[in-house]
Amino acid sequence: MAKRLVIGSVINVSTAPLRLVTPEDHSVVIQTSSQVPRIESETQLRSILATLSGVDSVGAEARVAKLATRSIKKSTKMAALDLAISMVDLTTLEGADTPGKVTSLCTKAMRPSPMDLSVPSVAAVCVYPDLVAHARSVLKGSSVAVAAVATSFPSGRASLNVKLMDVREAVANGADEIDMVIDRGAFLSGRIGQVYEEIVAVKQVCGNAHLKVILETGELVTYDNVRKASWIAMLAGADFIKTSTGKVPVAATQPVALVMLEAVRDFAETTGQIVGVKVAGGIRTAKDAIRYLVIVNETVGSTWMTPDLFRFGASSLLNDLLMQRLKQQRGAYIRPDEFSGD
């Protein structure tokens, strides 16, 4: 981008130091020369977290409320809907899951709308580790990744060995992405070194699989905790930080997403590492999804506007995205039965 002098509308010719508007002024500047600090001790980790600014909850909530008033219309809406579809991790995490259910889900993931082949595939299907191999076989040859929730999802209440075994099996069965949970008990009791070390250990056994670290923000409760947990996960090597398991009453919220996006932005600016964000749980409507995309657009910008770095963990969201997409094309709503259940 060419540098240009911005003089607005000045009536007098000025000799004062005007400032050039540079591309940096529009951007999150990613410092590729910087590095992620090596963490040697819990004390060191604590001292890094102590440099983080607090979050004012009233201000954070006011910011997302304002962004929620953005009116997304016409071609912007169409682009946003397609982008959101491509960012979905189509999820089933039930005790009643069967190979049949997973086959159905994978089929939908690859071709969300049989009526319209221009609809993109979703990013991934997300299942329990024992169904990874089956999902892998159905999705063979497609662009859709297999994500597995591991580490004694959702509570994470198991020994580290059991958690690592869980991850190893999922990876061995062909998982491309591992969604782990942090030890919230350890975090809330102040044992942040343990939280960090567990993530590092899981990252090691992930191999080439991408690691998403679930903070379970509904159990961390405060935005300050969300910011701290985000940094612990990123320092420990997370490829993604994820809000929720979807298994506790409070799942993803827009202020939590804002705080996590601010964390990945600041992390990229200080370390050069780009970490993705996944919001999961309770996102059911296209309207909600578009509001999240607006927050991404105006907080972290273009780099993150891709399925490689932003995801929606959801099940029923996909059909609403499809319905709104068709409504944009045809100008009228279509019967819900026009869309397959899963």
Partner: protein, 488 residues
């Protein structure tokens, strides 16, 4: 996932298609008379002027210029209504009218928001989400007080003053009308309201709403016009009280004019609000707060946080984030629901902003101006931040009343207080810190009528608002706001 030579991440890369609100909702008439004694009447001298849309410079409607004799008619109508009707109406009855007005404002909120944005140039998001809801909220709030005045702390049976002459500015036309009318009516006064010359439309629409609410004739009279009209109202011997919101210069003249009369006076004047940022402030919310503090309503806000005092240890980081955020502001068509910054209200105001900005440059401050494109027609000024500003610069001392922020630094809390208080004004300040004790220590020492902590430009009818020193006296809002309209 690190790769070399990663490109910067461009904020706002997803462009939003225009999402304009419909101007037809305004249902504007071609011309408007004066609202006197419950009816819209022609001005006695048949003088008229035009009100324009500052975003397009197109004519919106023809407005009547109220003359001295029109003011006389309005004051007489208000006096008659006071003597015969309103002073004999019980508090509970007055409350019913106020509730009714509040509800009609809510019912017609979309229309009011559109009219306000067309006439003033402010973004529709703000008129829709701030101005109109707050106007309704003030009527609701003071409706509650109307039958409880003896519990307001002003004696057993506080009496109204009589006829109130109220002169309001162009920056929040409807909201200022509500701030003036609601407490006056609740306390039992009758009113003559003079809206600003450049923004009369929403007050005239409010006149229609008063008719719709069945408010007795003459209780509120609305006389449009310029400074001559306002001057006639100030000088009219039948007025018992003047309430003025506007510039300090005009406020000073009004105070001189009423000095030897029986008239009571409250003034809400200019400001040069200091927004004090300590190094432990919640940074992301603080940046948003600075933006809201100075760019809300294009900076046409008397309590705007137009001086940013930032602790030197974090000044570079704050400035970098601030400039980035300024670049992101969406400047343009005020009717677009996604617009953050609309048009400057008038050519005169734009001229004043440009003059002061030119001074800022000549005095050696570093100017950062958004590279946004400005529309060809209309009055526009791109959001601007001046860094390296000193206390002795004009842009640190004078109210610019536009989207221009002056950034100064300080080293210690004592220095912050000294700099914040080193002004003739005293309307509003902000304090940003995560440390409650420091916030309270700071707030205690600031000479300002309003101090916000970790927020800025938040208004609520339950909270008193007003200034000290050259920012005026008297309070609007809350229980305190009743005092201005009671004989206490």
């Amino acid at each position: 996932m690190t790769e070399n030579n990663l490109p910067n991440s461009k904020l706002g890369s997803l462009q939003y298609d225009p999402a304009p609100e419909s101007a037809a909702i305004a249902k504007l008439k071609s011309s408007y008379g004066l609202f006197i004694n419950g009816k819209f009447t022609d001005p006695s001298k048949h003088e008229q002027f035009e009100t324009i849309n500052p975003a397009t410079e197109k004519r919106l409607a023809t407005i009547s210029q109220g003359s001295t004799s029109d003011i006389d008619k309005a004051v007489k109508a208000a006096r008659k209504a006071y003597d015969n009707v309103w002073s004999k109406t019980t508090g509970a009855e007055r409350a019913k009218y106020l509730y009714r007005i509040a509800r009609i404002i809510q019912e017609r909120s979309r229309e009011l928001a559109v009219v306000e944005t067309l006439d003033n140039g402010k973004p529709i998001r703000e008129s829709r989400d701030v101005d109109v809801p707050l106007a309704a909220a003030h009527f609701f709030y003071y409706a509650g007080w109307a039958d409880k005045l003896e519990h307001a702390g002003f004696g057993n049976a506080p009496k109204p003053i009589g006829v109130a002459g109220q002169i309001i500015p162009w920056n929040f036309p409807l909201m200022m009308a509500a701030w003036k009318l609601a407490p006056a009516l609740a306390a039992g006064n009758t009113c003559v309201l003079k809206p600003a010359e450049t923004t009369p439309l929403s007050a005239l629409l409010l006149g229609e709403i008063l008719q719709q609410a069945g408010l007795p004739d003459g209780v509120v009279n609305i006389v449009t016009g310029d400074g001559v009209t306002g001057s006639a109202l100030v000088d009219h011997p039948g007025v018992d009280k003047i309430a003025f919101t506007g510039s300090t210069g005009v406020g000073r003249l009004i105070q001189q004019r009423v000095a030897t009369s029986h008239k009571r006076l409250t003034l809400e004047l200019g400001g040069k609000g200091a927004n004090i940022v300590y190094e432990d402030a919640p940074i992301d919310e603080m940046i948003e707060g600075i933006i809201d503090g100075i760019f809300f309503n294009q900076g046409h806000v008397c309590c705007a946080g137009s001086r940013l005092l930032v602790q030197e240890s974090i000044a570079d980081d704050v400035l970098r984030r601030l400039v980035r955020r300024v670049e992101q502001l969406r400047v343009g068509d005020p009717m677009d629901k996604n617009t953050d910054i609309g048009a400057i209200n008038s050519a005169d105001q734009l001229k004043r902003i440009k003059e002061l900005v030119a001074y800022g440059e000549q005095e050696g401050a570093t100017r950062y101006t958004s590279s946004c494109e400005l529309p060809k027609k209309g009055f526009w000024f791109a959001p601007t931040v001046f860094a390296d500003v000193s206390q002795s610069h004009r842009i640190a001392r004078e109210e610019i009343f536009g989207p221009v922020l002056s950034v100064l630094t300080f080293r210690t809390p004592e220095e912050a207080i000294t700099k914040a208080n080193n002004t003739n004004y005293g309307l509003a300040c902000g304090v940003w810190s995560e440390k409650g004790s420091r916030t309270l220590w700071t707030a205690e020492r600031l000479r300002a009528g309003v101090v916000w902590a970790n927020t800025y430009n938040k208004f609520d009818p339950t909270s008193p608002f007003g200034g000290t020193r050259e920012s005026g006296f008297g309070r609007e809002g809350g229980k305190h706001g009743l005092e201005a309209y009671l004989n206490v």
